[in-house]
Structure formats: C-alpha cells, structure tokens
C-alpha cells in the first residue's frame, strides 16, 4: 500500500494551497522579496537621505568595485578588513563551540542526574537568555575590575582590559559562550541514539575510551558534526550581537560583517553600498550552504 495519498482526498489541492497561502505571502514578502531587492539596490547609489534617496541612479558594479578596491579595502574599517576579521571570528568560534559542545556531550554521555541537569541548564541558558541582558552582564564580566579579571588575579594571571586591549578575543569568548549549547544539545541527542550494544561490544573487545570515541562514536555522529559545522558557520557569520559589546570597535577592530553592514547602511546611510555588502554576504552564505548540502548528500550515499 503506497503511503503517498495520491488522490488528493484528504486534502484537495485547492484547500492545501489555501492553507499554504499565508506561508507563501510571508515568505514571499519578507524573505524572497527582500533578497531580490537587495540585489537590485546593490547596483544603485541609493541612500537614506539627500539625492540618493529622492533619485537613486543605477550605477552598475560601482559599489562592488568600491568594496574590492585593492587600494583601500584592507584598511581598518573597510570591507576587506571586515571579511578577514569575520573569517577569524567564525573559525575561532566554530572551533570553540564544536569542541566544547562535543566535549560536554561526551563527558555526560550515559550519565544522568543533578550534575548533568545543572551543566546543561547553565549552558542552555547562556544560549537563550535575551541578548541585551547578556551583553550587559558580559560587559561587566570583561570589565577591568570585573569577574574575569578577579578570577585571573586569584590565579596570578595577567588581567588585560579585555574590551580595549583584546576585543577580538573578547567577542570570540562571548560567542563561544553564547553558542556552545546548540552543539552540545545536538551531539548529546546524537550520542544518545547510539545503541548501547555497540559500545558494550567495543568494551568487551578491549577498546579504550579514545578508540571507542574515534572508531564508533565519531563515525556515528558524522552527520550531526556536519550539520553543526555548517549551521554554526552560517549563524556566526551573520551574528550581530557582538555589536552590543563593542559596537565594532575599538577603532573597528571587531568590525565583523553584520556590524559592518549595519554601519554602512544605517550610520552612513549608504543603502546602495550596504546592499552590495549584503549581496556578497549572501553569496558567501549560499556557497557555505551548498557545501553543506553536498556533504550531507555524500554522507547519505555512504549509508
């Protein structure tokens, strides 16, 4: 018996499309349309105020030329520099979140109890509590006389003025703290699905913990690993929250993509230029997503 109800009896095509129409409206209006419009604006000199607002002109690839102008683009506060900073930010965050998430998931694999609940709760709260409140508490945490430095002082370690002297390290730490929960939960669920009999067999055969991890657990969570890597990459690439900590500074040293775009579009009111940046960001995202889908398909093929 085919499971596909082929005859539209449960739901006529008309009813189905009626049910889907709000979805189409929202998605069309707030997802697809902006996407198309960004591309269009990126080819204009549109701004919020002045001549560019009243009468935006089509200027072709000028915006893009400006962004990739090799004379200037790597200067502080420019697009190229932002790309570099963002890449560093993403790679460091990714490494931190995935290893930490995996580490916690492994440590508490097959353990239950209050300790596990507490740790999971702490890590998850770091992820879901509202960003403005979290930003304030982190500003305090990183303050020269804040909790982190107090802690480091107790250990006899140097206590830099984090937000001023090590801003990139600061936002990386912040982003890892904020995002680890996703990887942790993902891997935890994946590990939980591994049948205990697989691990018990390995035990009986004399494998140690590292071998068990490498040869049994790791291959079994490969799809989740891929998912984590690509989603964390996409999200981190587009994240805006560090703005609340550093505003992209000091002196543009944490001018990551989302902050850079915001600044160009809503501080300098250069909508055309801002859109061009957005187009490039979207292209990069699509490439990353394509890699993801490709890796996923390949993963499926080997199953």
């Amino acid at each position: 018996m085919p499971s596909e109800l082929q005859d539209d009896i449960l739901l006529t095509r008309r009813t189905g499309l009626t049910l889907l129409s709000p979805t189409f409206v929202f998605v069309g209006l707030f997802l697809l349309f902006p996407f198309a419009w960004v591309v269009v604006i990126s080819f204009t000199d549109r701004t919020l105020l002045g001549a560019g607002a009243a009468n935006p002109q089509f200027i072709g690839l000028d915006n893009f030329r400006q962004l990739f102008d090799t004379q200037t683009w790597m200067h502080s506060g420019e697009f190229g520099r932002s790309l570099v900073l963002t890449s560093y930010f993403v790679i460091a965050s990714l490494a931190g979140q995935v290893t930490l998430g995996l580490g916690i998931a492994l440590a508490f694999h097959r353990r239950k109890g209050l300790l596990r609940e507490t740790i999971f709760t702490l890590v998850t709260l770091a992820w879901i509590l509202p960003e403005t409140a979290i930003a304030f508490t982190w500003t305090s945490f990183l303050d020269p006389s804040g909790t982190l430095n107090t802690f480091l002082a107790a250990l006899g370690l140097p206590q830099p003025d984090w937000l001023l002297d090590a801003p990139m390290a600061s936002i990386v730490m912040f982003n890892i703290w904020r995002g680890t929960a996703f990887s942790m939960l993902l891997f935890s669920a994946a590990l939980g699905n591994v049948r205990p009999s697989y691990l018990e067999t390995a035990d009986v055969l004399g494998a140690n913990a590292w071998q068990r991890f490498r040869d049994i657990l790791l291959p079994m969570i490969r799809p989740q690993l891929t998912t984590a890597i690509i989603l964390v990459t996409l999200w981190t690439f587009n994240v805006f929250t560090p703005f609340l900590l550093t505003q992209g500074g000091p002196a543009f040293r944490t001018d990551i993509m989302a902050i850079h775009t915001y600044r160009i579009a809503f501080r300098y009111f250069e909508f055309g230029l801002g859109s061009a940046i957005a187009v490039i960001v979207m292209l990069i995202n699509f490439v990353l997503a394509a890699i993801y889908l490709f890796a996923l398909k390949r993963g499926e093929a080997t199953r």
Partner: protein, 356 residues
C-alpha cells in the same frame, strides 16, 4: 440499507495495478469477507468502497446510486479502522457522537443517540473516559459504536481484530457477527485470517493480485476451491497439494498410484499431463499397509494438539499432512500408511484451476 456493486473497477498506483477490473455484487444486508494475503488488493478494494481512493476505471454503486465521484463524507458509510483511529483528545462519548456532530445534530440529540449505541455495545460505563484510558477490546467497541451511530448504509471493517490478543479476538468476532445480524446492515470485512472469514462471512471473496479468484459461502469455498491458491489459503492446516500425472485412468505419483476419480470432463484428454491432486488433511485416514489404495510414507512429524493430532508423512519427497481425531494420539514411527477416499479428492489442472 443498501446493496453494493463494483462494475469492472480498476485501481492503479502508477505502474502497479492493485485492483484489476473487479466485479462484485454484495446484497443488501449481506456480510462479505475479502480474504487474501497481503498485497492482494483487499484493503485497496475496501478503501475504494469508502471513497478513500479514487477509481482508475469502473463504477461503484451503493444502493444503485453511482458514488464513484462522491467523496467519503457523503457516501453514508461506517468504517472501523485497523488502529481504531479514536480521537485521543475526545472522550468516548464525543468520539461516538462525532459523525452526528458533523452532520449538525444538537448536543442533546447526539448525546442521547451515542448513549443508546454505547449501551447496546456494553460500553456505556466508559463514556466519560478518553481512549487512552480504556482497554483494547473496549477501544474496538467504541470504534464500532462510532461506525454505527449514524445508521450508515454500508459497514466497512479493515482488519478490526488484528490488534487484539487471541482470546479477545474470538469473543469480538462472535460479537461483530451478531451485531451485524441484528442491525442488518450490508457489511464488507477485510481480513487475512481465513478462520475469521469462515466464521463470520455470509460469503467469502478470496482475492489474489487484485482479482477476486472465488466468491461464495464459506463452506462452498472450503469444499470446492476453484484454484490451488484458494485450496491452499483456506483451512488450517491447508489442503495437501500433490503433483501427479494422469496415465491410463490412474493418477500417478512417484511412489503411489490412485484410480482416477469420475469427473464430468473427459480426463483422457489430459493423458500424461502434470496435474495436482488435492486432499484435505481431515480426509487422510490412517490405515494398515495391506488395505487397498494405501499410501506409504516416512513419518516426518507428529504434533499432538489436544483434540487432534497432525501427522506429517514424507511421501516420496512430498509432504502429506493428516489430521487424526482420537483421544489417544497414534503411536507411529518409521513408516506409516494412509488412504484417501476417492470422493474426497480434488483435482486441479496444470493451470491450477479445478477440474470438476
């Protein structure tokens, strides 16, 4: 009350033909079982009656009305699903009353009627519970109650007893039959359990690969199976089917010979052909080695089941099963002998079709 008719109904899913040009005529008030192995098309046939599948070709009539294009909601049928499909968020009362609710009956009226039906099915004390709070047998009755409540023209059952344990199944089976008798509604019942079909059907329609192979009262289908498929499907243990050849008035097997029985067809035209001899286990009788027509075989298995014992004999590579009814199971070892009475023997051609 209505009769039900299929006129050359075909249903295909892409390349697969699930129901192949089926004609069916169910009389008003009749209880017909669709019996067959999985994939034979019986469930698809039932769903076509319900309107849950659309025909590819053919006409379906309920009460002489052409309902082929009519949706399930308007065919005025009651259906019991295999998993009962009782809505978990509604009480038993609300579940039973649902068909009345969607037809616009007032709360009072439908509550009254639902209670009445529940009473006749002996589940009145459960009306305030939710489906998760009642047993499997009670769920089944609730499902039946819901199917009955709006007095449908046709009753449909999709393997309603397969989720019950063996003992409950027997009780429920008798209950359903009596219910149908009392209400007098035309019923079509799908099952793969041949004993179930034998027990409750007025007529059994045996299906295979989308076609009705034979349809008739249970005993008729049992006693005169039209093909080896039907012969093999009905009866537990199934009919013994032995490959033989017709030669010079005799049925020849590698190890034994039997005189050919009388048939209306002239058997001499089948000289030398490979045929199939069929004999039900209960017609295989233990005998002594010297009796005329005795067949010798190696005792392969002996299963004392209580009221009967099943004896399996290896007769020249073919397995022959006999049902022996005796208080004391026979003591057999090594070789044993059996015989069959000529008038209990069935004959099937090389195409598997009965030779009368």
């Amino acid at each position: 009350m209505a009769n039900l008719r299929f006129e050359s109904v075909t249903k295909s899913f892409g390349d697969v033909t699930a129901v192949d040009s089926v004609d069916l005529d169910v009389r008003d008030g009749e209880f017909v079982c669709l019996l067959g192995p999985s994939g034979c098309g019986k469930t698809t046939t039932l769903r076509l009656i319900a309107g849950l599948e659309r025909t590819t070709r053919g006409i379906i009539r309920i009460g002489e009305e052409d309902v082929t294009r009519v949706g399930p909601a308007n065919r005025d049928i009651g259906m019991v699903f295999q998993d009962y499909a009782l809505y978990p968020h509604m009480t038993v009362l609300e579940n039973i009353a649902y068909p009345l609710k969607v037809r616009g009956a007032t709360t009072a009226a439908r509550g009254e009627r639902a209670r009445q039906v529940a009473r006749s099915l002996q589940i009145e004390h459960l009306l305030d519970r939710t489906p998760s709070q009642i047993s499997g047998g009670q769920q089944q009755r609730t499902s039946v109650a819901r199917a009955v409540v709006h007095s449908p023209r046709v009753f449909l059952f999709d393997e309603p007893l397969s989720n019950l344990d063996a003992k409950l199944r027997l009780e429920a089976r008798a209950f359903l039959k009596r219910l149908q008798r009392e209400v007098g509604v035309t019923a079509v019942y799908v099952t793969h359990d041949q004993a179930e079909a034998m027990a409750i059907a007025d007529r059994i329609a045996v299906m295979d690969q989308g076609r009705i192979v034979q349809i008739g009262p249970p005993l008729e289908v049992y006693r005169k199976p039209r093909t080896t498929f039907v012969a093999d499907f009905l009866g537990s243990p199934p009919m013994n089917l032995i490959p033989i050849r017709y030669r010079e008035g005799k049925l020849e097997h590698t190890t034994f010979q039997l005189p050919a029985p009388n048939r209306t067809v002239d058997l001499r035209g089948l000289e030398g052909e490979a045929l199939t001899l069929g004999v039900r286990p209960e017609h295989v009788i233990l005998c002594g080695p010297d009796e005329p027509g005795s067949i010798a075989g190696e005792v392969f298995g002996l299963e004392p089941l209580g009221p009967e014992t099943l004896v399996s004999l290896d007769v020249g590579g073919t397995l022959l099963v006999a049902r022996i009814f005796a208080d004391d199971p026979p003591v057999l070892d090594g070789t044993a002998h059996v015989r069959v009475a000529p008038d209990t023997v069935h004959l099937f051609g090389s195409d598997g079709v009965r030779i009368d």
